[in-house]
C-alpha cells in the first residue's frame, strides 16, 4: 500500500508541476492522472478498512513497511514457505524495495535522459526520422524542429535542397561518435510512448574545440544555414552552420513527439 501511495503521489506531483512529460507521451496524461487519483482514493479508503492498519503508531517509516508485508504480500512470502528467518529476509527485502522506490520516485529530482543513452541508442538510427521526410520536402521550414531537419539529412535530401535554407533549432549537445573533437550534434529525444523508447535524433555541427564553450548535455539554441562537412572522419556529408549559437535553459518540454 505504501508503494501505491508513493506511485500515486509521484504521478500527481509530476502532473501538477507539468513534468509528467519527462516520462510519458502527452497522449497518456489524462488516463494516467485519472487512474492515479482513483487509486489514491482507494488506498486511503483501504487504510480505514484493512484490519491492523490502525493508525495508532507513529509514522515511523520502517514500521509502516512491516505492516505492508503483513497485510500485503502473502503471494511472495508464503510461497517461499520458510520459518521466521526467511520471513525476516523477505521483510528486509521489501523495506529495501519500498525505500528504493521512494528515493527514485520522490527524492531524486526528475531528469531527462543524457548523452549516455544517446551512445547506447545510435543517433538518428531509428526510422522515426525516416518516416516523415518525403512530406517535409517542399513544405515551409520555419517551424522545423531538430527532428525534421534530422529526417531530411538522413534521407539525403541533397546539398541543393539545403542551400539557402535557414534553421532555427534548440537541443542538447552530444558528441559525434566518429569525430568527437570537431563535430557535435544538437540533439533531442523522440518519445513515442514513454522515456523507455526515446530515440535520439540530432543535427551535426562542425565546430572544432566546441568542448571549451559547450558542455555535453547542456542546451543550446542556434540559427544558421547548412553546408558541406569539412571533417575528415565524420560520416555526415552535410552539417549545420550556425551563425548564432547560444546556451539556453532546458525547455519545459525536452522531448519531441
Amino acid at each position: 500500500m505504501l508503494l501505491s501511495l508513493v506511485g500515486v503521489v509521484a504521478i500527481v506531483w509530476l502532473a501538477l508541476t507539468g513534468q509528467l512529460g519527462l516520462y510519458i507521451h502527452p497522449r497518456y496524461f489524462e488516463f494516467t492522472i485519472v487512474m492515479a487519483v482513483i487509486a489514491g482514493m482507494a488506498v486511503v479508503a483501504a487504510f480505514a478498512v484493512v484490519p491492523g492498519a490502525e493508525p495508532d503508531h507513529d509514522h515511523d517509516h520502517v514500521h509502516g513497511h512491516a505492516h505492508d508485508d503483513h497485510v500485503g504480500d502473502p503471494g511472495i512470502q508464503d510461497a517461499r514457505g520458510g520459518g521466521s528467518g526467511t520471513r525476516a529476509v523477505w521483510a528486509v527485502l521489501s523495506v529495501v524495495v519500498v525505500a528504493a522506490t521512494a528515493v527514485a520516485l520522490l527524492v531524486i529530482p526528475p531528469a531527462t535522459l543524457t548523452s549516455a543513452t544517446v551512445a547506447q541508442r545510435d543517433l538518428n538510427a531509428s526510422a522515426a526520422v525516416a518516416e516523415e521526410a518525403p512530406e517535409l520536402v517542399g513544405t515551409d521550414t520555419a517551424g522545423f524542429t531538430v527532428k525534421d531537419w534530422a529526417s531530411l539529412l538522413r534521407q539525403g535530401a541533397g546539398e541543393e535542397y539545403f542551400a539557402g535554407k535557414t534553421a532555427d533549432i534548440t537541443g542538447f549537445v552530444t558528441p559525434d561518435a566518429d569525430d568527437p573533437e570537431n563535430v557535435f550534434y544538437i540533439a533531442r529525444f523522440v518519445v513515442t510512448c514513454c522515456a523507455v523508447d526515446a530515440q535520439p535524433v540530432g543535427v551535426p555541427v562542425y565546430l572544432p574545440g566546441w568542448q571549451h564553450d559547450y558542455a555535453i548535455d547542456s542546451w543550446v539554441s542556434a540559427t544558421g544555414g547548412f553546408g558541406p562537412n569539412p571533417s575528415g572522419t565524420s560520416a555526415q556529408a552535410i552539417v549545420f552552420e550556425p551563425a548564432e549559437l547560444t546556451a539556453v535553459d532546458q525547455p519545459a518540454e525536452p522531448y519531441v513527439y
Binding site: M1, L3, S4, L5, G7, V8, V9, A10, I11, W13, L14, T17, L20, L22, Y23, I24, H25, Y28, F31, T32, M35, A36, A39, G40, A42, V43, V44, A45, A46, F47, A53, P55, H59, D68, V71, G72, D73, G75, I76, D78, T101, A102, L105, I108, P109, T114, A116, T117, Q120, D122, A125, S126, A127, A128, T192, C193, C194, V196, D197, D217
Partner: protein, 328 residues
Amino acid sequence: MLVGVLAGAALVGLLLVLRTVTAGPGGAGLPDRVSDFVTLSVSVVIESLPFVFLGILISAVVRFWVPDRWLQRVMPRTPWLRRVTISLVGVLLPVCECGNVPLARGFLMKGFSVPEAMTFILAAPILNPVTIVTTYQAFGWDDGILAGRIIGGFVIANLVGWLFSRHPQPWSLLTPSFEAACRAEAGHDAPAGQRVRLRRAVVAFAEETSTMLPALVVGSAIAGAIQVGISRDVLVALGGNPVWSVLALMALAFVIAICSNVDAFFVLAFGSTFLPGGVVAFLVFGAMIDIKMLTLLRTTFTTKALALLVTVVALASIALGFGVNLLA
C-alpha cells in the same frame, strides 16, 4: 474508520511534502548512467502503474459484483470453446498486459481453471480494441502485420491453453499461497449487501496492490538496467536478415517491456529497418511476455510453469515471424 482515512491522507501529505522539499533545481549530481537508469525505470513504472490500477479495479468488480451463476451460464461447457470465448474477453476489457495479471487472478479466484487464465493472460493484451486500433494506426494493412498480430496472438493463446489443459494437475502450476487463496474463495458467491462488497473490494485492492507493485517495481528496475547496459546497435544491425530480424526484435520486446496498447507506435520507428516478420514477432511476443511481465506473473505461477510458458510462446512467435517473412 475515520482515523484510518485521516492517517492515509496524512501519509499522502507527508509524501507530497517530501517530494516538494527534495525537488530542488538542478540534478542530483548522479553520474549520467545512474541518472538515466533511474529515469528509464521510473518511466516504466509511471507508464504501467495506471494499467495495473485499472486491472486491479476491474478484477475487484468481477470478484465482488459479478455473480458466479451468471458467469457459468454465459460460458460454453466444452473446454476448448470456453478458452476461445475467454480469449475474446479482452475485447470487452481493454486492459493491457500489466493490468491483465491482476484481472486473471480475479478470474482464478472466481473459479476459472489455470489453462483458462493462461489463455486470457496471453490473448487479452492483443485481442482488445485499444491494441487493435493503435496497431492499425501505426501500420494499416501493410505486410499483414495487423492480421499476423491478431491471428497469431489468438492461435498462440489457445495453443498454450490447450497444452496446459493436458497438465495432470493444473493447480500445481500456481504458487501454493495463491492456490490457497483461491480455494478459500471458491464456493463463496459474491457477498450480499453493497457495503460489505465495497469493504471487501477495498481490502482486495489493498492486497492486490501490495502483491503486484513490488513485482512491478523490481521488473521495471531490471528493464531500466538492461536498457542502460546493453547497446541497441547490435540489435538494430541484425534487422535485415529474415531469421535474425525475428530473434532480435523478440529480444528487444523482452527487455523494453512496454504495454501492448502502445508498442505498435514504438516498433513503427523500427518498421523500415526490420522485416515485417520481426515486427509481428515483436508485437505478439512482447505483448505476452517481457521481463516486467515475468516478475508480475511470478506472484501467481510457479517458476516451472513460467519457464514452460516462455518456451512455448517464444517458439510459436518465432514460427509466426518466419512465416510472415516468407509470405511478405
